[in-house]
């Protein structure tokens, strides 16, 4: 029985604490890696004493084929600012085809996340073999710098805060002119699809 959905600890950071200025902002990166290649590559980076920032927490899985898209969603929900998914190079997979399936799955999921507004820069997909300690160090350091520039992912972490639609939580969001109202989301012909409640694409019964 899992103890509790979310362990209660005094030091827990309130999810929507966006007070951290980007200068000393230390991004939190969760890395889902495959046991045979990238995890061993990270071990090699260790034995070679390659220096890395300590922002990354590694979760070991047998193969990238095992990594589900809900892991990434849950990682962001639980406070990650960036996610790394890394495994064996094509044709190197210990299980022959796990990485091929992962490549297709995340090829689509990355576009889906981006379409719903999650900046693809927060996501790093890479192939790191067991002999590429250096490459793992680069992937980690580059991702940390990239996410540091993007700043904390408070917009996602803060989603639960906006539980009740009554108090419009997005008043403080200056809605970009085109996004919802007006015609930006709809093409020039004035067919106002997006914000017209409740018709959505105009054919709800």
């Amino acid at each position: 029985m899992s103890v509790v959905n979310q362990p209660q600890r005094s030091g827990e950071r309130a999810p929507d604490d966006s007070g951290r200025a980007t200068a000393e902002f230390e991004p939190r990166i969760t890395a889902f890696v495959c046991n045979w290649c990238t995890y061993t590559g990270a071990d090699l980076a260790g034995t070679s004493r390659l220096h890395m920032a300590s922002n990354v927490r590694i979760i070991r899985l047998p193969c990238t084929g095992r990594i589900d898209h809900v892991f990434i969603v849950k990682a962001f929900e639980r406070g990650a600012d960036g996610v790394i998914v890394s495994g064996c190079h094509p044709a190197d997979c210990h299980y022959t085809a796990g990485n091929y399936h992962a490549r297709r799955r995340f090829g689509v999921f990355r576009e889906l996340l981006s379409f719903l507004g999650v900046d693809p820069e927060r996501l790093t997909f890479s192939w790191v073999s067991a002999s590429e300690g250096g490459k793992w160090a680069d992937v980690v350091n580059e991702t940390i710098e990239r996410v540091r520039r993007l700043g904390p992912f408070d917009s996602y972490h803060g989603l639960a805060g906006a539980a009740t639609p009554a108090d419009d939580p997005f008043a403080r969001f200056e809605m970009p002119a085109g996004a919802t109202g007006g015609t930006a989301a709809a093409p020039a012909d004035g067919h106002d699809a997006a914000s017209q409640a409740p018709s959505g694409t105009g054919d709800a019964s």
Partner: protein, 674 residues
């Protein structure tokens, strides 16, 4: 409620130098579900393991987390220790706070915080670990050896002498491999045929060795202990039972202008042939590609254009209509001993390699390679052992030997050293000088690599007693000049250009893996390096094993190897195979998938993605016993635990033991407190 023991290792000072192990222990002591948290200098030492065993007994632990090095290092050690204390080994997990933490960070505060988080993550995971039993699978106690060279023969003999059946598959018409083509062997100069042929006969007559020559491995299914190997027996056109090897058919065969592979193209052979006199089995094979009868059939001629061999065969053993047949063998372990081939300097090259334009792309007749020289020197060779050059049969008075042709040459695509050329070139100079006393043997070399037992003395003998002229410098150009072969070299020790008018040139070309090694590796799902040699599991500690359990490597398929090494590796693989066959059943990691049949809707996405075909359909019947649906079922024996099925199942009806959704969810959740 979980009762978890957390043990933090200092690893001497590898971890303690940057991680405050005491603070980690203290932090973990308060973590919900943790009942004991201690740090110790060397957890993997015997006292360290005693610490765990005692804690398990005293606190009735339901889970153990060892925060130390990578699970790849000591997971087995700590799981064994827990098992000895009566705790199911699969509730023991390791938190990597050395390679992934202390060794790559300097700031003590950061490293300690990260160590605490990593430990917490694994503790949360262990709360969801379930006790598992190792899977026991039957072992077929029969071995398959691919390749009938000296390595393959030795491995087959050792395993068969160990009391188990061996299937030996050889691509050519006879076993013996490249060793059968050699004249003498270094460093003892004993005749290659004399030491090889008895082993070949021994293998042929061994009651427990089933020999398939003129055959190749077509398909390999299954996994360690339970391989099912399909072997393609190429149509030999000669009935193995009827033929007594009399050789009449070979004499009668009209087409005699086919290059003999055995003599490396220096002599001709008939269409129906045995590669060499001591061939085992001593039975010819019909080369359908060059046989006039089959050429006629391919052109669609109504009447057969020839048939001489069938007419002359008293035993009626010749059969033109036989096709390739397939045989399936149940196999427990596979030894790959496919050997090597020599690099060819010609224009057409496989991807990534270049030919030697500066040496004439192999189009200069008197420029030959090592194996061709062996055939010239061999008594059963095209010249009966006399040193006569291929172009005009004259005795070459000046022979130039050029070493490192292809090897140590990244520009041509091979950066490695082929190891055996220094020794066999020294041997070649001796063979040449023994046959042509007044001849001049000039060797262009970069280094002399003779590191084996008696090897250096052997190469010194070639220089000091047999008078080989060793010139240190690589050759820039070789071209034909009238009836001579001009060799432009340089002597870096005496600082002068050297031009030799040679009668014959022998190139010590690089050792390459057998063509087609790539396809075989894919059939066995074994990986290979950029040069095509198969990858061993660990260069130092597991040199004859591969990352695919149950597949072992012997000889030059793994890297350039000489005969002593090939035989030693063959013996090593035999020891591994006999170890595997010593038990009736094989224990296998229990991390396999399991389907929840109540929620599976039978969409079989899992079946489409499973690389091992481990998922079967299982009928679901209603009360009256009518089949009303199908669900997926994972065969625990076949499943290798990759988990791809778990990720593609939309309704989350499949769980992978050891990496269940609960466990991963708990790990992600633990990061929330970061």
């Amino acid at each position: 409620m979980s009762r978890i023991g957390v043990f933090i290792c200092h690893c001497g000072e590898n971890i303690a130098r940057t991680v405050d192990c005491g603070a980690v222990a203290e932090a973990l002591r308060e973590h919900p579900g943790v009942v004991v948290a201690e740090d110790y200098k060397y957890m993997c030492s015997d006292p360290g393991q005693q610490l765990i065993k005692k804690a398990i007994a005293d606190n009735d632990l339901t889970g153990v987390v060892v925060c130390a090095c990578s699970p790849h290092m000591h997971e087995k050690t700590f799981r064994r220790a827990a098992a000895q204390a009566g705790l199911n080994p699969f509730v023991v997990e390791m938190a990597n706070i050395r390679e992934h933490c202390s060794w790559i960070h300097d700031d003590r505060g950061e490293a300690t915080a990260k160590a605490i988080d990593t430990a917490r993550t694994i503790v949360e995971k262990v709360k969801h670990n379930k006790p598992l039993q190792t899977i026991r699978i039957p072992v077929t106690k029969r071995a398959l050896v691919i390749g009938g060279g000296i390595a393959g023969i030795q491995a087959a003999l050792d395993i068969a002498d160990g009391g188990h059946e061996v299937v030996l598959v050889e691509k050519e018409a006879s076993i013996g491999g490249h060793m059968s083509q050699l004249s003498e062997t270094f460093p003892t100069l004993d005749c290659s045929q004399c030491i090889l042929t008895p082993r070949m006969v021994e293998a042929y007559q061994h009651p427990r060795i089933k020999l398939y020559t003129w055959s190749e491995v077509e398909k390999v299914d299954g996994y360690i202990g339970n391989f099912s190997v399909t072997i393609r027996r190429k149509a030999r056109s000669v009935d193995e039972d009827l033929c007594n090897g009399c050789g009449d058919c070979q004499a009668a065969c009209p087409s005699r202008r086919i290059d003999s592979e055995f003599d490396a193209g220096l002599s001709r052979r008939p269409a129906i042939y045995t590669p060499f006199p001591q061939a085992v089995p001593n039975m010819p094979v019909l080369d359908r590609e060059h046989c006039t009868l089959f050429k006629g059939r391919r052109k669609g001629l109504a009447k057969d254009a020839c048939g001489k061999c069938k007419e002359t065969c008293l035993k009626g053993a010749i059969d033109y209509d036989g096709q390739d047949t397939f045989v399936t063998e149940e196999i427990g372990a596979i030894v790959v001993a496919t050997g090597f081939q020599l690099y060819d300097i010609g224009r057409e090259q496989p991807a990534g390699l270049k030919g030697y334009g500066e040496y004439g792309y192999g189009e200069v007749p008197d420029v030959i390679d090592g194996l061709q020289f062996e055939r010239l020197a061999s008594a059963s060779g095209p010249t009966g052992g006399e040193m006569l050059r291929p172009s005009d049969g004259a005795e070459p008075k000046t022979v130039v030997f050029v070493k490192c042709v292809g090897s140590r040459d990244p520009e041509k695509g091979m950066s490695y050293c082929s190891k055996i050329c220094c020794m066999y070139t020294a041997k070649h100079t001796m063979l040449y000088k023994h046959k042509v006393h007044d001849g001049r043997a000039v060797v262009f070399y970069m280094d002399i690599r003779a590191a084996g037992k008696g090897y250096d003395e052997f190469s010194r003998r070639a220089i000091e007693e047999d008078g080989a002229e060793y010139i240190r410098g690589r050759v820039s150009r070789i071209f034909r000049d009238g009836d001579k072969v001009k060799v432009w070299g340089y002597d870096t020790l005496s600082h002068r250009q050297v031009v030799v008018d040679a009668d014959m040139v022998v190139l010590a070309t690089a050792v390459r893996p057998q063509p087609g090694i790539g396809e075989l590796a894919q059939k066995l799902s074994v990986s290979y390096d950029q040069d095509g040699f198969l990858n061993e599991a660990h260069p130092k500690l597991r040199p004859v094993e591969t990352n695919t359990a149950g597949v072992y490597l012997a000889g030059a398929c793994q890297a350039p190897r000489d005969i002593p090494e090939s035989v030693a590796m063959a013996g090593a693989t035999a020891a591994k195979v006999l170890g595997l066959f010593s038990a009736d059943e094989l224990e296998r990691d229990p991390s396999v998938a399991l389907v929840d049949e109540r929620t599976c809707i039978g969409c079989f996405n899992c079946e489409h993605v499973c690389p091992y075909g481990a998922i079967e359909h299982r009928d679901v019947c209603d009360m009256e016993g009518h089949v009303c649906g199908h669900v997926a079922y994972v065969n625990p024996g076949v499943c290798q635990g990759c988990g791809t099925c778990v990720a593609v199942c939309p309704s989350k009806s499949v769980e992978l033991a050891g990496f269940t959704d609960d466990q991963v969810y708990a790990e992600i959740n633990a990061l929330a407190g970061w």
